[in-house]
């Protein structure tokens, strides 16, 4: 069975994660409850004419995938697998509003076409003329992990040698206002917003696109090996520790083997215990990291964490801004990531150097 390696990364996020080393310019924004991406120079990747017609998520996906492919030094891949929670939500909003505002008349198809969830994956395929396998997963917080599981299975089964896999989501103005209304996003005018020691429900929201080139061979520029990915729809608070241990055990590992534990803390006090219980007990002696104070919460925010973990394994450095506790390890060989949303859609991802 072939192993799966991360050989290239590309990340567009609410931090400057391109043309930088590793989060040295990162800042925590305590003033806003919805964070916007730091835009790359799109014109270096997409012609201005094409760019004008493209959805934000498509553009970011194209740039992040181009960065990943350049980083991996590959010109084509065998498959493209994408995860997205809401797809190109701005175009969905636009088309729906024009239907409602104009009583189903005077509509043009552009925003309908872009609103389809698999637009990002198919636009990348179109640009690269990649006729291979092309899937898009849309299952909330496990959209990206579903893509990872699929990609890993493809490589293990020798169905593909190289795969572009990514997670992408964009903020839409009306949708974020709805998320404030239903409490998914923290209420307005409640700054300072804090992710780690929050007492309020809801999350600080964000957006981004992270893409990775996965290959079946270790190369000089390899970041990490993907040991395992698991998604579990439903777990109670008191089942997390056992689930984490059984996941590690199935990979012949114990908690003491984990050199860093990346947690999806998003500032939602109502579901914080899913992270806190396991962090303060079973993993108390493990270096713990968080990231949503930098990336914001969104369905595929865990792809940002995946990018971060890959970077740590390659550089062997953990930026201070990511640390939850003061525990350190002499070197970082194995990293475990855990994420969930509102007590559902749990994921465990295991990477090694």
């Amino acid at each position: 069975m072939k192993k799966t390696y991360i050989n290239g990364v590309g990340c567009i996020s609410t931090q400057k994660t391109f043309d930088t080393v590793f989060l040295e310019e990162a800042v925590v924004n305590h003033d806003e409850n919805v964070l916007a991406i730091v835009p790359p120079a799109y014109k270096e990747y997409i012609s201005p004419a094409a760019s004008r017609r493209m959805a934000k998520g498509v553009k970011n996906g194209i740039v992040a995938s181009a960065l990943a492919m350049k980083d991996a030094n590959v010109e084509n891949v065998d498959a493209i697998i994408t995860g997205t929670g809401l797809g190109c939500i701005e175009d969905s909003e636009k088309f729906l509003k024009s239907i409602l505002d104009n009583n189903e008349e005077f509509l043009t198809p552009t925003s309908f076409i872009q609103s389809t969830h698999n637009t990002v994956g198919s636009q990348i395929a179109l640009l690269q003329q990649c006729k291979g396998y092309n899937f898009t997963y849309v299952n909330g917080a496990v959209s990206f992990e579903s893509a990872l599981i699929d990609a890993k299975m493809q490589i293990e089964e020798d169905e593909a040698n190289s795969i572009l896999v990514g997670g992408v989501d964009e903020n839409g103005e009306y949708t974020t206002s709805l998320f404030k209304l239903n409490g998914r996003i923290k209420a307005d005018n409640n700054a300072p917003y804090d992710v780690l020691n929050s007492t309020t429900s809801g999350a600080v929201y964000g957006e981004g696109a992270s893409f990775f080139v996965l290959e079946n061979e270790r190369k000089e520029n390899t970041y990490a090996e993907i040991l395992d990915v698991s998604i579990i729809n439903t777990l109670e608070e008191n089942e997390i520790e056992a689930a984490a241990k059984s996941f590690l055990k199935s990979n012949n590992l114990e908690i003491s083997d984990i050199d860093a534990f990346v947690l999806g803390y998003d500032g939602n006090a109502a579901f914080e215990n899913y992270y806190k219980n396991i962090a303060e007990n079973a993993f108390a002696k493990t270096p713990q990291l968080y990231y949503k104070h930098l990336s914001g919460e969104y369905d595929t925010a865990s792809a940002f964490a995946f990018w971060m973990a890959a970077k740590i394994l390659k550089t062997q450095e953990i930026p201070e801004i990511l640390k939850v506790n003061a525990v350190e390890k002499p070197d970082y060989k194995t990293i475990l990531l855990y994420n969930q949303l509102n007590g559902k859609n749990h994921s465990f991802t295991l990477l090694s150097k």
Binding site: G85, L86, G87, S92, F95, L96, K97, I99, L100, N103, E104, E105, L107, T108, P109, F112, I113, S115, T116, H117, N118, T119, G121, S122, Q123, A125, L126, Q128, Q129, C130, K131, G132, Y133, N134, F135, T136, Y137, V138, N139, G140, V142, S143, S146, I149, D150, M153, E156, E157, T175, L178, L181, N182, S230, I231, I232, N233, T234, L235, K344, N345
Partner: protein, 398 residues
């Protein structure tokens, strides 16, 4: 045994609320295309649709949902079909084995989003529907209703979505990652998709006529279907009846245009080619092809050319599109057509391609236009979607 075992099926569509009802309609020419009733739309007098003639209230009652439920129509028809499939497979303890659910949808709970979009701020009682918009919401609800706790995910690749969920399910079992997977898809009619397809000018104002030279476009439909796939270990252990097997699958991208298929059907050709490779079957061994056959000028030309390329000098086997019965049910299409493919194998029938009159001028392909009884060992089913997403499944007699 080659291929992954199918042990249960469930379906709700415009031509029936169960597997049996759907089969009767298919073999007795009872079509489900009519004027739209459940959605108020300005296009009501122009378009024809394949609508499930049950109101949301009726669906709520049938599922015995509580008054404060927040099920979209998509989630309700999805749950109905998934429950039927699980029951049909004789599953009583859903988490007994490593069980997963792979669903498929194009627009998730858009039917609720579009209904309440501007009212959310005024009516607090509607706020519960905001989360329905999420593409994963349907799978989430089905999992909850089934009590399924393990792997749950959703695929959205437009009109090929459910083919891909069946494909993923088969791969998860083949690789031993799961023992049992419930696979399929659901899509309810929505103003959003009606108007989307309308602006693309691919909706017919008449009954759709796949592979006919005068075809004008598609009729949209709504449906949900799920199938239960199980490992051979479970089959052996529980001495289970196998309905048919998923013996081949292939996915490829046309990489030609966001919403149009290439003239030569590259993606479709590659998807079929891969499916034959996986199954180890030769094209000549296929007894019936359930074509995608949406009846848009573009799809049928592209698919027909791809079929001609696959079959080269050989005769293309009996083929038909069942969309004149059901309409094009988007992300659910491949799931309902998977059920129809299994029924074709079980009953040794080829369904008629209704409304066909004049062969297309581009090639000499003529679909089967009447119900035909013959031995069916292998059925090939095509599904293609926006974004160039092309998928092929092959089902075989167990």
């Amino acid at each position: 045994m080659k291929g992954v075992a199918i042990t249960g099926m469930g379906i709700i569509s415009a031509i029936g609320n169960s597997v049996e009802e759907n089969y009767v309609s298919l073999t007795e020419n009872k079509i489900g295309i009519s004027r739209i009733q459940n959605i108020p739309t300005v296009h009501a007098d122009v378009i024809k649709v394949g609508e499930i003639k049950k109101t949301n209230e009726e669906l709520v009652a049938e599922l015995q949902l509580s008054e404060n439920n927040n099920f979209s129509r998509t989630a309700m028809i999805g749950t109905l079909a998934a429950k039927q499939a699980v029951e049909n497979a004789g599953i009583t303890s859903i988490n007994e084995f490593r069980t997963g659910l792979i669903s498929a949808t194009s627009v998730g709970g858009m039917d609720m989003t579009e209904r309440h979009y501007y009212d959310y701020f005024e009516k607090p009682e509607l706020v519960k529907y905001i989360t329905c918009h999420d593409g994963g919401d349907v799978a989430e609800k089905i999992a909850e209703e089934l009590g399924l706790k393990g792997m749950v995910t959703t695929i959205s690749t437009a009109c090929s979505s459910a083919a891909n969920s069946i494909m993923l399910g088969a791969r998860l079992i083949k690789t031993g990652k799961l023992d049992r997977v419930i696979v399929g898809g659901a899509d309810a009619l929505a103003k959003f998709t009606i108007n989307g397809f309308k602006t693309l000018m691919i909706l017919s104002d008449d009954y759709n006529k796949p592979f006919d030279n005068t075809r004008k476009g598609l009729n949209l439909g709504e449906a949900a279907a799920f199938l239960v796939l199980e490992s051979d270990e479970i089959i052996k252990k529980q001495n289970k009846k196998v309905l048919a097997r998923v013996s081949g699958y292939g996915n490829a991208n046309d990489a030609y245009h966001q919403t149009a298929s290439s003239e030569n059907g590259d993606g479709a050709y590659l998807a079929m080619k891969k499916a034959f490779e996986i199954s180890g079957l030769k094209p000549s061994e296929i007894d019936y092809i359930n074509v995608h056959g949406t009846a848009t000028p573009n799809n049928d030309l592209s698919e027909g050319r791809a079929l001609k390329r696959i079959y080269e000098d050989e005769k293309v086997p009996d083929f038909s599109s069942t969309k004149p019965f059901t309409g094009h049910t988007l992300a659910a299409a491949a799931a309902i057509e998977a059920v129809y493919s299994v029924l074709a194998i079980q009953n040794n029938v080829v369904y008629p391609n209704l409304n066909f009159e004049i062969p297309m001028e581009e090639f000499d392909l003529k679909p089967q236009t009447t119900l035909k009884n013959k031995n069916i060992e292998h059925v090939l089913s095509n599904s293609f979607g926006f974004g160039g997403n092309c998928s092929t499944l092959i089902f075989s007699k167990s």
